[in-house]
Symmetry: C2
Subunit: 210 residues, 2 copies
């Protein structure tokens, strides 16, 4: 009558599926179940033993991805809005593996709704950050706060989704792009990052994979 506890290989396989799905869906949000299962070294049939649905699998991915997103957003407490944005970008980058899926799925018609609501906390953080930055004069005011927030979000998504996470200066690129969008001149960005080397290794003129 007493049910046995789940087998070790089973939980490993479940995790393996999630990993495989992460990397497969980050590239192509419409990757088939078969591709995901195979790339996890399992059969399609087995995947359905672990997840009821394609939807279920994806929701779990989005769920853990966005949780990290939101946790990071709350962890950034710099008084200086510019520093806060920089740190936010840098930390998000560290989680690239988990974050890319969400970024890719957020564009997929079928999941926009779900991701949008899961990312609400992050959105609120960014909105507040933008308002703060505009008030103290460190962010641009030629755009409305909502517009700027949206732009920042869009650019962040693009950079995360469309740059090789493994390349050396990628985090640097992301941070610089976002601060530029916020309105800073590139020299200001450069000085800021030089003054706070803890945010990102301040490499000059870094390379990137083709």
């Amino acid at each position: 009558m007493t049910t046995r506890s789940p087998r070790r290989d089973s939980v490993e396989n479940r995790a393996g599926i999630l990993d495989a799905a992460r990397s497969a869906l980050a590239t192509d949000p419409r990757a088939s179940i078969d591709v995901i299962a195979r790339s996890a070294g399992l059969s399609r049939r087995t995947l359905y033993g672990h997840f009821d649905d394609r939807e279920t699998l994806i929701r779990e991915l989005i769920s853990v991805g966005t949780q990290r997103f939101n946790a990071i957003a709350e962890s950034v407490g710099d008084a200086d809005a510019r520093l806060a944005l920089a740190r936010l970008a840098a930390r998000l980058w560290q989680e690239a593996a988990h974050v890319q899926v969400a970024a890719a799925l957020a564009l997929d018609e079928a999941h926009v709704e779900h991701t949008a609501e899961a990312l609400a906390p992050l959105r609120r953080s960014v909105a507040a950050l933008v308002r703060r930055g505009q008030e103290d004069g460190s962010f641009r005011t030629d755009l409305t706060a909502p517009t700027l927030a949206r732009l920042i979000e869009e650019v962040a998504r693009t950079v995360v989704a469309r740059t090789d996470a493994a390349s050396s200066g990628a985090a640097n690129l992301a941070v610089r792009a976002l601060l530029s969008i916020a309105g800073l001149s590139w020299r200001e960005v450069d000085d800021l990052l030089a003054a706070h080397p803890d945010i990102v290794e301040p490499i000059r003129a870094e390379e990137e994979r083709a």
Copy 2:
């Protein structure tokens, strides 16, 4: 034996299909043939009378879209790199209807290759522009020329694809975003656009649809 010239309604329908495909694929690059045909007020079967293939249809769209792209790139001759970039962005925006498809399809796995080669001239223009801007000190030099060019391209694509082309200040937004990415401070951008009102109607703090 002498073949009659094509009927008027036929050529109209062909054009209608292209229009329908343009707007349908701009939203969803994987829109079905049926959806496209129906939204052109025709049957699926008829569409296949005008185009052999889904591929053929798409290639024609990409072809005319990228031709406009490239033509614009060559038409920009400002000595000042900042102005050149601004004007390039503004003109591309005017062609948004034709350009959005290309931007959307460029992300679609199945057509990256084709769009990439069709956009080679534009890429070259941007690359040259970036080099020029970096040399005369108006663009950022904390990023490699190729990296900056790539970033500009990515951001342009995003802005074109993900903002309501109909909204009033959209062109403004696009231009400002690109100049910011190039390294200018937002005040510098603001001054530049104020000094050259021909580029884009210089509206302050414009709105955007939700």
